[in-house]
Symmetry: D4
Subunit: 249 residues, 8 copies
């Protein structure tokens, strides 16, 4: 809880604009807001430099709407991931300005303008089928306050495509590599740049890809040193790490 | 059983040089020789164009020696894989001309000169630690009657090393790629050549390589189309397939 | 990029038939064509002897159509795998001559006549349930420029069925074995022929087949030496390797 | 507890040859004998037609010796499996007639002559490296009261070796198939005989055999109907099932 | 091919009732009938004592119908497993007497009366949810020519339920135990009877049952000696083994 | 069977109110009631202090209804888990007072009032998506006769939320921790309380959570000593263990 | 930090018996003692009712000795698990009264007499080979302040052995079941008692036990409701949970 | 190859100080030095900002020595990981100033002084047993040119230990978290800091840790957003990523 916020509450309480119960509730809420089925972590922006993000999977449309409804009362941007069209419809009812990215399956609400650092994040995807994950990473990185360059379909089956754009990749402050199947692109990029590489395995592939396990293991075993990995299909997670890096002062 | 061989037996039998039992035994042996603990498949050269190979793992030194002793009576070269120094010592006693390759852990005895086709097999290894498997592949391919080019330590962490030698790789009739860790080299080579690529995952790596599983899955999921895979660390198996390809008329 | 093609562009530019931007674009396109969501690898025919193939899984019907639309402007045959009826409908709208193989789930467009080598590829399937994968292999091999012999339902539960057709199998230059369940057919064929064998495990089976894992592991562990393996259900991949072998000069 | 045994105890008690405590102890022992670290199941012969068998792995030599010492007081044959030479030395001290089979790693003591049924069990092993498991199965089956035929090294890489001996296999009342690597022999035999087939996967192989997992899965997925499977390397378990079948009246 | 059958063909040919082609076709068919997408193994009854069984999974309704249509021309009973209602509808059109068991998902056609041995097979299921697999086993065993006793819902959570019926279990010549979750029933039954036990793990359970893997591993590791295992949910496979045992002379 | 119950039956029999068959049936039923497809374990309340619970998965709606119908004749509360709306509809027809909890997917019928111990069970869930499992645990614990405190959405990403409610957690007699993803909450709670902790991994998460495997393994490997684990998503199982602990005298 | 302890420090400081630095150090140490390579958690007794326990695996003998040396200055009992003889030798040098249990691989030092509750913990082991894990559980439970009853070798292969001692099992306040192989004993005991059951899978077994995985999965999938599970071979973990239960007021 | 270096070579060649072959060799070597069994990637410092690092596992002591011998001729620091004492002995012979860190198993040779950025890397380890991996990370990070703060034994079983040092953790520019068992520390730290977190799972633990798999999966599934993961026990890999982040301008 920021000092200013707390001072305002206390002042309002002293002046009688706030009763005892209301003041207590506001102070409690500065830690987190209990909606019964969810506790919104209001300390997160201060602690982590980004607001809580809504992971829609496993939540009902009504639950997501109620969370958004509350978050709209706070001064932060809103990001919901793994959102179906049905969830978006429920959110739209109470927030017409919410935007839906069908490929990325994200809902975003922009309320505050963040300062954007000069450096950019490169999101590099091996194939067209990896687009949904790459787009989740890109959209997430943007709403967390970063410039993003998207580079799609440069997998190692035609490696000259990567060399065509290598300067754009090398120019980034941090690189997100999104790849399914054997995930070799992460190692190849990792061997060509001197920036941190965040690899996202995708569940693209069939048979012995075992839902992305093949790409995950390959990326974890990368022979190139500067590669770290996030969960399968976790574009959002990659964006979090990349944003934390890109926004380092 | 070749006709000539059979005719000789029958002639010898008719002339009385062979008794009934001995003739029967020779005809039976043309199919396979039963040593009790092993049945040597004497039809294999005819059926598969290569003699039976001795896989030493799980066999005692005495058993390997006895098999070699019998095979020395036949007109074929001999190859034993996964041979320890102890096994080699046992074989040397009865066959001083046997050669041991310590890196490849192979024993070879050259008795017949095969005709060697013009094309060659390229054995490409990602790292120094993959040498034992690469060498098993190379030695096996040579004794099966092939020319071999060895290209070592051109893994994707420094991909320019591969481009330095790409003409040698492309010139081969078939390419064996040996790689551990994430096995990305197979996909990269697969995307650069128009020849069949046989990939051998190795157990080199640690942690989540799970004994070569990571490289195996990566190679099976190669986004480059012309790649087929053999068992982890199975240099010999790769040599068999590559030889069958290289020796196609 | 072939020299002839480049000469034509330069000549047209000199004559003023092409402006600067258009000429640049054409030269860039010779490397790859960037559609935004995909980069078509136009060097592949030269580099690998076959055009880029469209893997439909994970792509929208609109994306596949747009890729086909572009490829129709180039001088190659077109192959799309894992195509649903919906994808085929979208493609048909812009290319009425496209053909759909429902069993193989492939779309093919034949624009150029390839020279077909004399040798053939045998596609041997263990059971009727393996047909879709076997057919994907066969259709792919054919459009890549090969003669194919299909031999269906000769699994080891009734092994005499294989011996009935063994001459047709042995006559091939390379054999593709397609099998689910325990995948034993690959080892049995591998022990009977002197040609390279490409094994395709299928996800046919239940329980502890674990989506084809049982057949995959069995084929990788084949006690017969000349067997290499591709991904589960990857008929197309097997065709690529087999074609690279069969079309060796 | 057999009636005769109980009658003898009661008679001895009545006559005063046995005191109260001793009689109680004998009656309790008829159920099981508590050695503190082990409870010998004395009802097993009656309940299952075979005595308790000592699985030496994880037991100290002293513990095995003490169990044997007790069992020598009972009227049954003794079988200890997975016995090291050290364990055998400990047992020999108290039972000089105990026999050790080094290949099978079994200790046997023959005290009673069982009636042996006419039918026999065929133990068929794919390779020489499978001998220890095959021998454990054979020795176990013999001491459980069965005739056994051993058929070694007839794996599918040279399938004519199996056809050479198929009559001996078909003549059995039940067939045990022992195979590592891809375990295909179980399916092939299963498709050729009309008798129950008990398959034993072995840990022979390397790389993706994963300690016998490949053979295990293959055997469980056998396309031949009459095959059932026991644990990896569990020759003894196969013998138990086969004996229960062979000794059916 | 039975001698009588062959004699009839030759006689008919000699008399001119059969032309050369028709005679050849009949002799070929005695080995197997090639339907293009399937080869019906007509030697199986002779070789294995049971006709080929139709595994419907992965086959179209039209394919199953065509196979049934052909098999109706032969003198055997017909069993199709994993049959959906749609497949049954297709079969009914050409064979109104076919019977469908909805729980077991089997289609059966009884054409010949087999001699039924005196002994019976006990099918013991741990829970109500295991019924489909237990019923597949029971129906299969019956059409293969066996008497069957069904004992349902006697899992170890209430083990007295098993003791209530233990005499019926012990009276069988061979016992099939069907259980999901932890599969403990197989070990408990295995410890209580002296007959061979065939265990069928089922995919019943949730979470860490991993589709029946838990029960499968448990049954393979049974501490009771006389237990052998078939594939997950493979009631038919258990019936094959049990029938081979029960029908031993 | 309680003595009183037995006396009543015998008395009724003597008085002629019950015939021989009816009396036998009642005595048999005291052990278990055989419905053909299920045997209701009527000894369970006595043996385990709770009635048999109906696991609906894999049972038809008709089967569940028939089981409930029978259980309504007994003096126990009824709990059915994993019940769909369709199953509830079937049960409602015969038992209008049955209650359905849509989140927990449970059906409950309260017939007897249990004495409720003073201590309570804390059900602590890491996230909103874990609610269905947490609610299954809570509802189950309540009908087994316990007071429950629900604490939702206190996962470690915002660990201060847990410290806000730590007194409520510490005040419980036993704590159930429900968490998906990496399941870290179990270890954190385990390190902060001196009460037994029962951890329930959930299948919430994506990619490498592998259906809850990640959380399961994490909880089993908890570095905090007092944590035990039940199956993935098994809220009911956790409630059973927790109730057995909470209801200890 | 207990109030008394703090008061003493402050008093000593005021009186000058403690300087500023020394007082600060003592207050810091009440939280934890930093040895550089380890931080001893001195709050644990207060927070969890038991002192920190030394897990020796992965620590050098010198490190363990230094930790013990420090802990001897505190008023708690000491328990070290997974201790080799070498570690014990190092500890003995500085603490001659330390006791080593070779079977359990534990080192214990008893400094304080805990009050022992009336109820006891039953440690039930399936086989002799499970003794080391069972003994680790028993020794740990005892030093944590509990009475223990050991019941060894009552596995389900001879289930009457369990019924012989069922009253002793049922009399416990909490039951620890230790079993390897298929781990069925946990389910059987779980179905027979109304007390919480803590199951410990062991790595006893071979082949497809996969180091205890089979028993672990079986126990997690127990059809008996009141069973919770700890890590493979984790006797100590089971003792912690059981002690937390048994010592509930 | 840096321009200066190239100019020097050309000048020397022009002046005759270098012959043609020697000049060519030097220019080739600027790309990589081929030792036969290894190709030292001399472009790596330029391309990645760090020299090639020697991974000793799978290499002979002689091979490592030869690589070091060559690298000593170049202007870079040297780092060898997974070095045994035997390897160090071999290296010492030719480079007495090489240093060996026994805990980290690293060999380091400092030849050049790197500029060290102001920010530091925090290496946070959950337990004493994780020290070897933490130390590998720390030593690697230092020789790559970073300040490092080590914080050992602050695992979640006593989470107050982490809060004691949280300011030191939060002060870092990037945090490496090293943890075995359930790896929960990564999520907890991830939720408390706003800097990128690189998590290293270790193989510390037993039973169901499966060699570090449990911690790996947990870290990949972290509910805290800013966590990326490297391979099990891969302290060096974490140092590479962290150094790339920390050294960003």
């Amino acid at each position: 809880m920021k000092d200013d916020e707390l001072k305002n509450i206390l002042a309002a309480f002293k002046e009688g604009a706030l009763g005892m119960e209301a003041a207590l509730e506001l102070i409690r809420e500065a830690s987190c807001k209990n909606l019964g089925f969810a506790r919104i972590d209001n300390q997160r922006p201060e602690r982590q430099g980004r607001p809580e993000v809504i992971f829609c999977q496993g939540k009902t449309a009504a639950q997501v709407r109620e969370i958004v409804e509350y978050m709209l009362t706070r001064d932060t941007n809103i990001l919901a991931t793994r959102a179906t069209a049905e969830v978006f419809a429920a959110v739209s009812e109470i927030c017409p300005r919410a935007e839906y990215n069908e490929t990325a399956r994200t809902i975003t609400v922009r309320k505050v303008a963040l300062n954007i650092p000069e450096g950019y994040i490169a999101v590099v995807a091996a194939g067209t089928s990896d687009l949904p994950v790459a787009e989740e990473a890109a959209v997430s990185a943007e709403i967390l306050g970063n410039r993003v360059e998207r580079i799609i379909d440069v997998g190692v089956a035609g490696i000259h495509r990567l060399f065509d754009v290598i300067d754009l990749v090398r120019g980034a402050r941090v690189v997100i590599v999104v790849a399914g199947m054997e995930g070799a692109l992460a190692s190849v990029v990792g061997g060509l740049v001197d920036k941190p590489v965040i690899a996202v395995p995708t569940s693209v592939g069939y048979g012995a890809s075992f839902g992305g396990l093949a790409a995950l293991l390959a990326m974890l075993n990368s022979c190139a040193g500067g590669v770290a990995v996030v969960n399968i299909d976790n574009g959002f997670g990659a964006a979090c790490v990349a944003s934390a890096i890109n926004r380092l002062p």
